[in-house]
């Protein structure tokens, strides 16, 4: 489409939505602050869009998360493809009924007569001293909900590609953005990235690390450090959390025989539990050791820096975990 550009995730998302709105007049955007009058979004992802496509297609809303998602659902029932922004992931709690009882279920409950091709954009992540109500990764809740897909890009190229795919998808997609991952530039090829396909971000032979969103960068950092220590790590970037790519993950796990799953979300009952259970069951007798998991601490995200840093897995924790697995 366009030639490769070196841009950050904010710019990549802005272009993905821009290109989608230009290509299809049915694509809409709504949420708090998304219009240019409000500076095009709290981090600027929608900058320029209301000016370009008009405030009927790009609506800055009141603080009303239930109505934001409800309006996106209704517009999609009316033949549109609405992107609804929930500023931070913790605020999806306000719209849980709309997301899980409605967006995810209307196709099934209507026997396939209606569909809800919406995208729910949201950002999250600890590390910004935002405390307990502004930092949670809650992907496990939605992955447990049949009828909605969940994606979480780790780099600008996937952010662009997954956003294009999410908008074109005929089912609701929860699109999780890492605040910490917004600013690092990377090459963007402007290709759609298929939902449901993981990516081997780094090939290796001793251990497989399964990660998504910001944790992929940490895993890659740990991998190069471990290489120096003579441990060859394969990093699988899930990209899509639900439905997750069993083939790619199982193939890598079978190849290395050792698996570490890493996510920033609280470890207990997180998505690593499902992926680990499937690996343990499918590869019974073929693993060299138990599947290991790293995740957020079992508490709310703390404000104070040392606690906040200790809350989420760091590259050093990944290195230590892998070394322990190698015994």
């Amino acid at each position: 489409m366009t030639e490769t550009q070196n841009i950050n995730m904010i710019q990549a998302l802005n272009l993905a939505i821009d290109h989608a709105m230009a290509a299809d007049p049915k694509v809409l955007l709504l949420g708090e602050e998304v219009g240019d009058r409000e500076e095009g979004g709290i981090v600027g992802v929608s900058k320029g869009l209301s000016t370009k496509y008009g405030s009927d297609r790009v609506m800055s809303t009141p603080i009303s998360e239930q109505a934001i998602i409800g309006a996106a659902i209704g517009a999609s029932l009316g033949g549109y493809r609405a992107i609804g922004e929930i500023m931070l992931m913790n605020f999806t709690t306000i719209a849980m009924d709309m997301i899980t009882n409605h967006a995810a279920k209307l196709r099934f409950m209507s026997g396939g007569q209606t569909s809800v091709p919406i995208v729910i954009r949201t950002m999250t992540g600890s590390g910004f001293s935002q405390g307990g109500q502004h930092s949670d990764y809650l992907e496990a809740w939605f992955a447990h909900t049949p009828g909605i897909k969940v994606v979480a890009p780790s780099n600008p190229d996937d952010a662009y590609g997954l956003m294009r795919a999410a908008i074109e998808d005929d089912d609701p997609v929860l699109f999780i953005e890492s605040i910490a991952g917004y600013f690092a530039p990377g090459p963007v090829t402007f290709q759609s990235v298929p939902i449901g396909k993981a990516k081997v971000a780094r090939a290796g032979s001793d251990v497989t690390i399964v990660a998504h969103s910001l944790m992929v960068a940490y895993a890659l950092g740990a991998a190069s450090e471990l290489e120096a220590a003579g441990i060859s790590v394969e990093v699988v970037d899930l990209r899509t959390i639900a439905p997750w790519d069993r083939e790619t993950v199982l193939a890598s796990a079978e190849k290395t025989g050792r698996v570490l799953i890493v996510h920033e979300a609280v470890k207990e009952f997180g998505i690593g539990a499902e992926i680990g259970s499937v690996i343990s069951e499918e590869l019974w007798g073929k693993l060299k050791g138990p599947v290991k998991r790293l995740g957020g601490a079992f508490c709310a995200v703390p404000f104070s820096k040392p606690l906040e840093t200790a809350f989420s897995p760091q590259a050093a924790d990944i290195v230590a975990a892998v070394k322990a697995m190698m015994g």
Partner: protein, 327 residues
């Protein structure tokens, strides 16, 4: 309410036809349940027939309807075919939702019945989005949001009315105030005497009408629908009515004072409208009897066809979760 447009004879007859069909249809469902032939939850709308009948005569197929578990009256009035409605109520694969939705999720986009929800209040945010779609389409279509008195106390009501008013969306919020929310009387759910009072808090017109009076209901709905079609924004209509049966069939309604129920039933709006139509010479008793007999036949045909129709195959569990079947 005298400054409302009046319904002419032909219109009154149309309203009566819809109400008579709804009443008989509702009674026939209850008959199947009482006889033990049908075992299923059913939320009767007996007593509330005039409201959707008087609204629908001003609607087109393309206008959107969002309603609730207690919504067969709204949907029959809007044109939901009886055959696939009955099949859905019986969980048959021939039902509008292939039996997957049931009484709480009846859906039929072709007649504009876009969503039926079992979550109190949730018809409103979605109807707001359908109003956004209608506005964008620019064809003068409107979106009707049905909900109850109890639903007017939940947050979704507030967010939806404020958003619809802010964006001047063509939505008509129809609060069918039947004086009870499950076992809770209206006066025990709020201190405000008229729900319509709340419209002022959103900068939208709000009226309270006797929903059982065809003239008043028709007039108020016509004014609101015309305003919406003309791009003048939403209206809140509180239609006072009464629920003749319990919350659902099986609920004896012991919490409703006997005299209150007796008075309501004595003022049954359907025979009242019938008597008036005959008295005004709009149609003769014989003509109406013929219509009613025909309705009864249609209902019985739909009911019997449903009873002999197939139940869905278990493979349906993997269909309609997403656009593509699950492996």
């Amino acid at each position: 309410m005298s400054n409302y447009p009046k319904a002419d004879g032909a219109t009154l007859l149309e309203i009566y036809k819809k109400a008579a069909l709804i009443k008989r249809n509702d009674e026939h469902v209850i008959k199947q349940i009482m006889s033990g032939r049908l075992v299923s939850p059913f939320y009767s709308s007996r007593g509330q027939e005039i409201i959707p009948s008087a609204i629908s005569v001003s609607l087109r197929d393309e206008d959107y309807l969002s309603t609730i578990y207690r919504g067969t009256h709204d949907m029959v009035a809007k044109g939901f075919p009886l055959g696939i409605m009955w099949a859905e109520l019986l969980g048959r694969v021939t039902g509008s939702c292939k039996g997957k939705g049931g009484p709480m999720h009846l859906t039929h986009p072709a007649s504009g019945c876009m969503v039926t929800t079992g979550i109190v209040g949730s018809s409103m945010p979605i109807a707001t989005g359908l109003g956004w779609a209608a506005k964008l389409d620019g064809k003068g279509c409107v979106s009707i949001a049905n909900f109850g008195d109890g639903a007017s106390n939940i947050g979704a009501f507030h967010e939806s009315l404020n958003m619809a008013a802010l964006f001047q969306l063509p939505v008509i919020f129809v609060c069918q105030n039947n004086r009870y929310a499950e076992h809770t009387s209206f006066t025990n759910s709020t201190r405000v005497e008229k729900i319509s009072t709340r419209a002022a808090g959103y900068g939208m017109p709000g009226v309270t009408v006797n929903g059982n009076d065809a003239d008043e209901m028709y007039g108020a709905a016509k004014v609101a629908i015309d305003r919406a079609r003309a791009g003048e924004g939403p209206t809140l209509i509180e239609a006072i009515t009464f629920r003749f049966n319990g919350h659902l069939i099986g609920d004896a309604g012991g919490y409703i004072p006997k005299d209150e129920m007796a008075a309501a039933k004595a003022a049954d709006p359907v025979p009242a409208l019938r008597a008036r139509i005959v008295a005004d010479g709009i149609a003769s008793d014989e003509q109406l009897a013929a219509l009613e007999a025909d309705f009864q036949k249609q209902i019985e045909v739909a009911c019997e066809a449903a009873f002999v129709a197939d139940l869905p195959d278990i493979a349906e569990l993997k269909r309609d979760v997403f656009a593509h079947d699950i492996a």
